[in-house]
């Protein structure tokens, strides 16, 4: 992975000093409240319902074990001994004090980490496929490009006061494991008919109040002009995005208002001034950054692999875990291991300091010292030799992270909701608890198969409910917390936004409705048909009928 040089280190160190001074002046009454709010957001610090919350950047989800250990230590020293992985591959601490944040940032800087621009109206963490660099279906590793975007966007002087936040995601394979079509900019690496690798650029995707699938604004962007083109998009957005209404300020609103063609032409006109200039990436720089991602010293396949047949017989649960939680690796003899942070004991995405230390040790022992976070709140050990899988599985059990539920109903995305978040309208963690209690039969979950349940506690959609196969949105109506169901969303290559099933459901009925929806699936599915495929085939009528008991075709 990328290693800091003296410039990278100087940047984070100076940023810590800068923020320490800002905190000092704020506490001395020298910075107005609303001004300090913007400054602290640009260093990842929210003031939440119960306590401040600090969001640490994990650039494109990649960490080394030492960094994970530091996160564990920070959680012990400054927090309550745990952390939370988010839908943008970042990590959050829920209980730091405002005064201690400069020290936390100082500790992070020692391990080449920071919280720069993880909030605020600026360019946020660039996210990507958690299987980048190791997946068999990859066109090209996205991580060097993510690193180039990270550098260009960090402390960019012109784009620190945008109309609103700005999120970029990069996908480099036939599947889209980065939800790139619901980002402000989605970049797709692909090979054109001439055999050249370049980017398709989508702009204006997003979730929240007004979910939109991103639109292609540039069909093929030459890789050397990646940064110049991004700069053109950001400049057009900075100058023209709405600033009168924060709910209408994202770039998706601008693209819709102008139309994708007009918007595209404005970007082209600005890009004319930039391309070929000092933002054009020389191949020397591209190659330098690519050089950090060349892959570890894999063992030869005959040393890495193992005949697992006996192990599967002796340990049937290991066979299940292998099937459910590991994926094909492009290197012979290796597997990608997904570690679900979705056990029955903790909130989805939460991880204790013991588990963080445990994962760091497992990364060192089994995966060349690196880990990744995913946008569905899980972790990945990307390079595990087959011969090590059984030992790894036993050790994951020791830290309660061996639940074989990746891709199942209980591998849900769940935002922290009303329990923590000052933006929330409804509780969500109670739902994940009830879902785990009700659907604790793993055989039932395996029979249901691939399904993505995504739960948000408010319309901001941090739980990505719009792109859940089943989406649940918590709302507040007349003083009560109720939940709206959507069906048929997807964040993959075939991206789609879920549609509302019917009227809101009371909190204690949510698991009942989920059960009813799954019953309909089991009754109507054809051989090998997934839940999403069924929804797209049969539509909503059977589900509405079951859940609402209506035989009418009109919307409930």
């Amino acid at each position: 992975m990328y290693a800091y040089n003296q410039y990278d280190q100087a940047l984070v160190d100076q940023r810590v000093d800068q923020y320490r001074d800002q905190t000092r002046r704020y506490l001395a009454g020298e910075i107005p409240e609303d001004e300090f709010r913007i400054l602290r957001l640009m260093n990842g610090l929210y003031i939440q319902r119960l306590a401040p919350m600090l969001r640490v950047a994990i650039p494109y989800g990649l960490m080394k074990s030492q960094q994970m250990r530091s996160l564990a230590e920070i959680s012990r020293v400054y927090d309550k001994g745990y952390g939370h992985f988010t839908t943008r591959q970042n990590m959050q601490f829920n209980w730091p004090t405002l005064e201690s944040v400069p020290d936390i940032l100082g500790d992070l800087a020692k391990v080449q980490m920071h919280a720069i621009q993880t909030s605020g109206a600026c360019i946020r963490n660039t996210t990507t496929d958690p299987f980048a660099g190791v997946s068999a279906d990859e066109i090209e590793d996205t991580r060097p490009w993510c690193e180039l975007i990270r550098q260009w966007s960090s402390l960019h002087p012109e784009f620190a006061y945008l109309p609103r936040k700005f999120k970029i995601a990069v996908s480099g394979s036939a599947s889209d494991r980065a939800a790139s079509q619901v980002h402000d900019i989605g970049l797709h690496l692909y090979r054109n008919d001439a055999g050249e690798v370049g980017f398709e650029v989508l702009v204006g995707g997003g979730l929240g109040r007004t979910p939109v699938i991103g639109k292609t604004v540039k069909k093929f962007l030459e890789p050397q002009e990646l940064l110049s083109y991004l700069e053109a998009v950001l400049r057009v957005y900075n100058l023209n995005g709405r600033r009168d209404n924060k709910y209408k300020a994202r770039i998706k609103i601008l693209v819709n208002a102008l139309g994708v063609d007009t918007f595209g032409n404005m970007v082209e006109a600005e890009w004319e001034q930039l391309k070929g200039g000092d933002l054009r990436l020389p191949w020397s720089e591209i190659d330098r950054v690519k050089g950090f991602f060349t892959g570890p010293d894999y063992l030869a396949v005959e040393h890495a692999q193992n005949d697992l047949a006996d192990a599967f017989v002796q340990h049937p649960q290991f066979a299940t875990w292998y099937r459910q939680n590991t994926r094909d690796h492009k290197q012979g003899g290796y597997r990608i291991v997904v570690v679900a942070l979705k056990n029955q004991l903790q909130a989805p995405g939460d991880v204790s300091h013991q588990q963080m230390d445990g994962m760091a040790a497992l990364a060192d022992e089994f995966s060349f010292g690196e880990l990744r976070s995913t946008h569905d709140q899980n972790l990945v050990l990307a390079d595990v030799a087959q011969r090590d899988l059984l030992a790894l599985w036993f050790k994951l059990q020791d830290i309660d992270l061996a639940r074989a539920n990746v891709g199942t109903l209980t591998d849900m995305i769940n935002c922290p909701g009303l329990d923590f978040c000052s933006l929330a309208n409804a509780e969500t963690l109670v739902l994940s608890r009830q879902i785990n209690e009700t659907f604790d039969d793993m055989d039932y979950q395996y029979d249901i198969g691939d399904i993505q349940l995504k739960i948000s506690g408010c319309i901001n959609a941090c739980g990505h409910h719009h792109v859940g196969h089943i989406g649940v949105l918590g709302v507040e109506k007349g003083g009560k917390q109720v939940y709206q169901f959507t069906l048929g969303g997807s964040a993959s290559k075939d991206a789609s936004l879920g549609k509302t099933l019917g009227r809101s459901i009371e909190q204690d009925q949510v698991v009942v409705v989920i059960g009813q929806i799954l019953d309909v699936y089991v009754e109507l599915r054809e051989t090998d048909e997934t839940f999403l495929q069924l929804v797209r085939r049969v539509g909503f009528a059977p589900f509405k009928e079951r859940v609402y008991g209506t035989h009418q075709r009109s919307a409930a």
Binding site: I38, L155, E158, L239
Partner: protein
């Protein structure tokens, strides 16, 4: 309101213009050589006429309005060499970015301590992107 110009406290300088760019356009381009503009103004028009102006004051109505950053950048890119003065909500925590994008004069908000403000120029010495100041990316120097 203290004015910082070329990274020093300025004791003698032209007053911030009150004449808005849009009025200057209708009054006729020779009526004055200094204007006040902001993100609502017609930027292409401002770029066209900039060479007739010795000073352009760009107004930050609230600190959240970031349009002035792009306007300054584009003025410098168009070759404008006159004074670009930041006025309005101008505070030390934005001064370094403002300078990077091409502002060279700063009319400070009343609560700002001049000495502290001056210390904020170059607060972060590493730059990962080119800007109007001709610096960066640091590692490519």
């Amino acid at each position: 309101m203290a004015l910082i110009k070329d990274q020093q406290l300025s004791l003698e300088h032209a007053a911030t213009p009150e004449l808005r760019f849009s009025d200057w356009l209708s009054d006729g381009p020779n009526s004055a050589d200094a204007v006040l503009a902001n993100g609502d103004d017609d930027l292409p028009s401002l770029l066209t006429h900039a060479s007739k102006l010795s000073m352009i004051a760009l107004e930050f109505d609230t600190f959240a309005d970031g349009r002035g950053f792009s306007m300054a950048r584009m003025l410098r890119r168009a070759g404008y060499q006159g004074e670009i003065r930041a006025v309005g909500d101008v505070a030390m925590d934005r001064i370094d970015f403002m300078q990077r994008v091409g502002f060279n004069a700063f009319e400070l908000r009343d609560d700002q301590d001049v000495t502290q403000v001056l210390s904020k120029f170059g607060e972060v010495t590493v730059h990962f992107q080119p800007s109007a100041d001709g610096k960066g990316p640091s590692y490519m120097a």
